[in-house]
Symmetry: C2
Amino acid sequence: MRRYRLAEPVYVTRPTMPSLARYSEKLEGVWRRRWLTNEGELHRELEGRLRERLGLEYVSLFCNGTIALMVALQALRTHGGEVITTPFTFPATAHVLFWNGIRPVFCDIDAETFNLDPRQIEPLISAETQAILPVHVYGTPCDVDAIQAIADRHGLRVLYDAAHAFGVEYHGRSLLSYGDASVLSFHATKLFTTVEGGALVSKTPEQFRRVNFLKNFGIADEDTVIGPGINGKLNELQAAFGLLQLETVDVEIANRQRLTDLYREQLTDVPGIIIRGDRPGVSHNYGYLPILVEPEKFGMCRDELCDSLREFNIFARKYFHPLCSHFPCYSALPSADPKRLPTAERVAGQVLCLPIYGELDRETVLAICETIRQLGRLGRTDSGGGR
Amino acid sequence: MRRYRLAEPVYVTRPTMPSLARYSEKLEGVWRRRWLTNEGELHRELEGRLRERLGLEYVSLFCNGTIALMVALQALRTHGGEVITTPFTFPATAHVLFWNGIRPVFCDIDAETFNLDPRQIEPLISAETQAILPVHVYGTPCDVDAIQAIADRHGLRVLYDAAHAFGVEYHGRSLLSYGDASVLSFHATKLFTTVEGGALVSKTPEQFRRVNFLKNFGIADEDTVIGPGINGKLNELQAAFGLLQLETVDVEIANRQRLTDLYREQLTDVPGIIIRGDRPGVSHNYGYLPILVEPEKFGMCRDELCDSLREFNIFARKYFHPLCSHFPCYSALPSADPKRLPTAERVAGQVLCLPIYGELDRETVLAICETIRQLGRLGRTDSGGGR
């Protein structure tokens, strides 16, 4: 199989960069003004453009999505007690609860969406529950209507970790408009990036104002600090990068969609590989390319496949393994018991995110798919077929 | 007095910028590598250069000083309970305690250094006390030996907020080498800047390792998350800026020293203006130019002087007013009672930071000093001399 090895390593993602010349040009005004951070001109411009692009009213930029999520809880006055969340997510989701003195309560996920399963939320609600923190994993919308109905019945806040959900629409409106607030990540590995960065989407003008105070230490004016804020500011160097990225993000989405279609076409009939299609009513962003590996049918397990692909210069990622409920700081919680999270446990053990980014070429995708197909065949032969 | 009005507004500080051409050149490698954050090559280079420049072994870069301070407490396992700190500081110092579930206990300051008064720390120590969090305000060293002696006697950690203390030496060694850890700020208003940014200085290799995990979500390797970390990463765009700033920081310090000398020479004999000299055993960084305004002797109070200076296009800043103990979120604490913090109350009411930055010219400093002198004279005349 040596012949399948790619000449250059291919990583799970790669940022599409504006030209350095255009970036430098964008910085000329920053150099002239010498205004480098604290709501600079490019910062304001980027907030405005994001409001337009996403069809939202209240967007606050942050230095990263994690700090935005941490501040969102404080903005929603969610402190102490418990919050119901998913274990199948990046560590940040659980950690921001820690920084707000909140105990995470892990809830199992839905086998189709890989998101919080609304049918399992209610039994976890206690007198201590403050909010629900679902994640739109890979940009796939949560069952937002069912979640809101539960929240309304119990008087809970809903804060969406929408780190992956840039530009996703659900039933014709921005997915970010659901719940009490949503948080985006603009990390370099994301579809739209400001290198590091993120944004908090507020629901009301009051919340928006408060968020903007909190991300600047709670400073309301020279003499007034309204509460325990933090430094969550995004600077002008990053805002400049974001403005240029925004010009190409729709081309990026279209390119990723074409590659996603190709992956689907190529992998659908590979035994033991599950690749999902589009969901009804959703305008996806194609930010990630997750597959599930069913070891018995495929011929090897996800970890073996991941390791084998590396030998072919293909660097896939096990997003999200391990589950947050496995981290030593959370594993002693009753809700972290693997027996209570069977779907999350299974998906975390089978999922693999394959390389996807706008500049990835079709030939490489074909080579990746063929390598997977061959590895499965080899695995099934080695183990006497199908085991 | 109209003739004293400056043609252009002069702010309290202004960053010395590398040329945009050199900055763009520095980014060429970043564009080539497409490695934008998560310990990139320039990030590693900057950490190395800072280690050399500051004469320290363990320097971890952060997206800003506040997040570094927040993580430092977690790195030192300081969570819950009480921490003794100064109210005369930027809001971040108190707020990071909130994010770690810690109750601040405010201690009065020394009238000479404006830093935590070691003689007043011990009566505030309770069974709940975890640590002392002093601030080297304006880069003036705290009484580090007295503080360490108290900490040792009571088994407390000492974490220095050294946001202003870049490059300061005390008794021939870096001021940042005292205590269990120190945190620097590289915000755009600082002597040395990465636009936003900061660094955590660790004492031991174990602490350094742990800090580096914690600033990246606690991720130790692909399968291990050691604890509730956060995103504290500094990106390549900022590291590039920092590398160029570092080349000129010593010139910046020298320039500020000359301007400080000029301010001292001009303001020493103005009635009611107190301007401090260098302290013995200290190699200062001249990052700030604080004066105290004694209203009875000067002829007007600090607030009046600050407002009046604006009319002359001089934008001084009331660092640090109001005291953290005045913020609504902390003012109900017993230790926040103004009667227990007489020196801090007085200094916060009298202090004013005058413009200082390397590119400020001597003529402007002379004009600022003359304006202050005239305003005082006018004030004393208006109020019938001296009242």
